[in-house]
């Protein structure tokens, strides 16, 4: 179901992920396993991808983790990134962004290695966290091949 749509949308996202500049949907179907989607809008978007760590945070992460990095709690919780000691390890945010956990999807379909490194650096140096060593693309790469 929705397989054709899926390739369309992910084609766009893949183009983003490989850093092709502004998204183009001329990309081949994604290399990973085909993801299913239910009802969807039925077209293609052409969005300027976020680049800096702050842009990635504001345009992607903030949807769940909130503008102040404090997450939220309802029937279950979205973890806070603010003052989170687990961020001491750079591998922690990299692993979560690449593979996801629970409801959180891995985000490699919309973020490339450079963007993942930038946003990991951003969350480790904001919201009361002060792990100042920048995260590099080389630190991200080993995670990209492993499955959740």
């Amino acid at each position: 179901m929705m397989r054709s749509m899926l390739f369309i949308s992910l084609g766009v996202l893949l183009a983003l992920a490989v850093g092709a500049g502004p998204a183009s949907s001329r990309g081949a179907p994604p290399a990973g396993p085909a993801q299913e989607r239910g009802d969807s809008a039925g077209g293609s978007t052409l969005l300027k991808p976020p680049e800096t760590g702050e842009q990635v945070y504001r345009q992607v992460c903030q949807a769940c983790h909130m503008a102040d990095g404090k997450g939220g709690t309802g029937a279950a919780s979205i973890p806070a990134l603010a003052g989170n000691p687990r961020l001491a390890s750079a591998a922690y945010p990299i692993m979560l962004v690449v593979r996801g956990r629970g409801a959180m999807p891995g985000l490699t379909d919309i973020l490339g290695p450079a963007q993942i490194a930038s946003v990991a650096t951003f969350v480790r140096t904001h919201f009361g966290n002060s792990y100042t060593a920048p995260v590099t693309v080389d630190q991200v790469k080993p995670f990209l091949t492993a499955k959740r």
Partner: protein, 530 residues
């Protein structure tokens, strides 16, 4: 249209296709002994003969949970439902004027729509082959009306095509088909398909291309009355002195390709998106309300489940009343758990390690819907757009026009965004006010003179921030299906999962119901064998 020896008209072709469809339908009906092959639904489960005193606790009062409760009670079980929200219905939901909605992070919206207007934050259209849902809508008295899925007169906008100006779907789609037909005709003429096609079939295909692509007698797709029949006129046919139509000019094929209108065309081909589609009169939430009417006395609201524990004697569920903080425990012989996986993943439970792993393995999609209430139906009055969708390459993805109360005066609610992917995350990360502003700015591309001018009030739901799902729908892929799906749907001693996440009709109400029927049918069998 022309007609004559050796040339079929479009209508003749369609008639032939219709006849073929009819034969196929008959064949299907014969081979499936009366059951429509478009669905796995074979009627309600018809369970009966529960052991005296046997009990089931259902977690979640969405459609899957309420259907389970309805059918299991009918089979003779004592049934109780625990629901986190004060409202039953789950993702089947409409927001009306006067409603208040608080998302994760604390932003609260007071919906200001006039009476009768609504936003469907979740499901909003029902395919004609979702027979389970249609069955229960009829049984529970939910009145349905057509959902106008396909509108040739709505717009397609792509930032990289037509100088960023929207064009009618009809024009772009006609030009795509016409140009493809002409090119394929050329390939046949240049003998490029002589290997692939017999002479007789080449002739038939040429005839098809001429008819389907609105090509002229020279197999050209050109600006003339022939193509105008598909893409529209500069001066449409009229009466009297100036009755003669003037054709419209076809677009540059580069722009047609750049607009990616083929994606919109392909979208409508999708089985789930094919007409006829339906919506409930009065908002999608009417379905949840109708289900709730059947089982409301069984529901404990404001119950946040914190622990699910099963042993030889039964299932114990611990829950906290979200208003009073009071902690209670409920027990039953069996449990149907419809809690979304992202939430269930965080609940303390002693399910099998394999099932725990399956619950943990499935992430949730994102989606943002925004309702914009406009003072008048300018899309109808000024643009002759009655329902359907205008597609855009911006974050909002589309705007969709109301399918009901056509031609009426007074305020109406447009769907101002149905965003997913990066666009969905971007809108979700905004405050409700910023979302409305973005939806107005982006949607104005279609109706620049009226969009802001006629705007009254808006409401938005970002599914990432919905407190009781933490996302829109379970997002399976080929690998996770292979590794975890059968575990996820298998009965784990006394507990069975149900919901759209436990189906192959993911993110549709139909999937939730089919999953529920399958789960309780197996659970009932298990209970009788125990």
């Amino acid at each position: 249209m022309r007609s004559g020896a050796g040339k079929s008209t479009r209508r003749e072709l369609l008639t032939a296709v219709g006849m073929m469809g009819g034969t196929f339908a008959l064949y299907q009906a014969m081979t499936t002994m009366g059951h429509a092959a478009e669905t796995q639904f074979t009627g309600p489960p018809n369970l009966n003969g529960a052991r005296p005193g046997a009990s089931v606790i259902v977690l979640g009062a969405g459609l899957a949970g309420m259907l389970a409760a309805f059918e299991l009670r009918k089979a003779g079980y004592r049934v109780q439902i625990l629901e986190y929200q004060a409202r039953a219905g789950g993702r089947n939901w409409s927001l009306y004027g006067g409603d208040t909605y608080t998302e994760l992070g604390g932003a609260t919206q007071k919906v200001g729509f006039v009476p009768g207007n609504y936003l469907n934050p979740g499901p909003w259209r029902i395919p004609h082959h979702h027979r389970t849902l249609l069955h229960y809508c009829k049984q529970f008295g939910v009145k349905l009306e057509p959902f106008i899925q396909f509108n040739h007169n709505a717009f397609v906008h792509h930032a990289d095509a037509f100088g960023g100006k929207p064009v009618h779907f009809r024009e772009a789609a006609a030009d795509f088909e016409g140009s493809v037909a002409e090119l394929l005709g050329k390939a046949i003429d240049q003998k490029a398909l002589d290997q692939e096609l017999k002479a007789e079939d080449r002739e038939m295909l040429l005839e098809a291309l001429r008819g389907w692509g609105m090509l002229d007698e020279n197999m050209k797709y050109a600006s003339n009355l022939r193509s105008a029949e598909h893409r529209g006129y500069d001066r449409p046919p009229g009466g009297g002195v100036n009755g003669a139509p003037i054709p419209s000019n076809i677009f540059d094929f580069h722009d047609v390709l750049a607009s990616q209108v083929w994606k919109n065309m392909a979208f409508f081909m999708n089985h789930e998106m094919q007409t006829t589609m339906f919506q409930p009169v009065g908002g999608m939430g009417m379905i949840g309300k109708a289900f709730a009417k059947q089982v409301e006395p069984l529901i404990v609201h404001n119950a946040k489940v914190t622990k699910i524990f099963q042993d030889r004697s039964g299932v114990k569920v611990t829950y906290t009343n979200t208003s009073t903080g009071l902690v209670s425990e409920a027990g039953a012989d069996f449990c149907v758990c419809t809690i979304p996986l992202g939430v269930l993943n965080q609940i303390d439970k002693n399910l099998s390690p394999k099932l725990q792993a399956a619950i943990q393995a499935v992430p949730y999609s994102n989606s943002v819907k925004i309702g914009l209430e406009m003072r008048r139906r300018f899309w109808e009055e000024d643009d002759s757009i009655y329902g359907g969708h205008s597609f855009t390459s911006q974050d909002i993805s589309l705007i969709s026009y109301p399918n009901n109360h056509l031609f009426e005066d007074g305020p109406a609610v447009l769907l101002g965004a149905f965003a997913s992917g990066l666009g969905g995350y971007r809108l979700a990360g905004m405050t409700p006010e910023e979302r409305i502003e973005t939806a107005l700015a982006q949607g104005s591309v279609f109706h620049p003179a009226s969009y802001r001018k006629e705007f009254m009030t808006g409401a938005s739901v970002a599914w990432n921030r919905v407190p009781w799902t933490l996302g829109c729908c379970a997002r399976w892929n080929e690998d996770t299906r292979q590794e975890h799906y059968q575990t996820l749907v298998a009965i784990d001693d006394r507990v069975v999962l149900a919901g759209e996440h436990a189906s192959y009709v993911g993110c549709w109400m139909e999937g939730a119901l089919l999953s529920s029927i399958d789960a309780i049918t197996r659970l009932h069998k298990r209970a009788l064998e125990a």
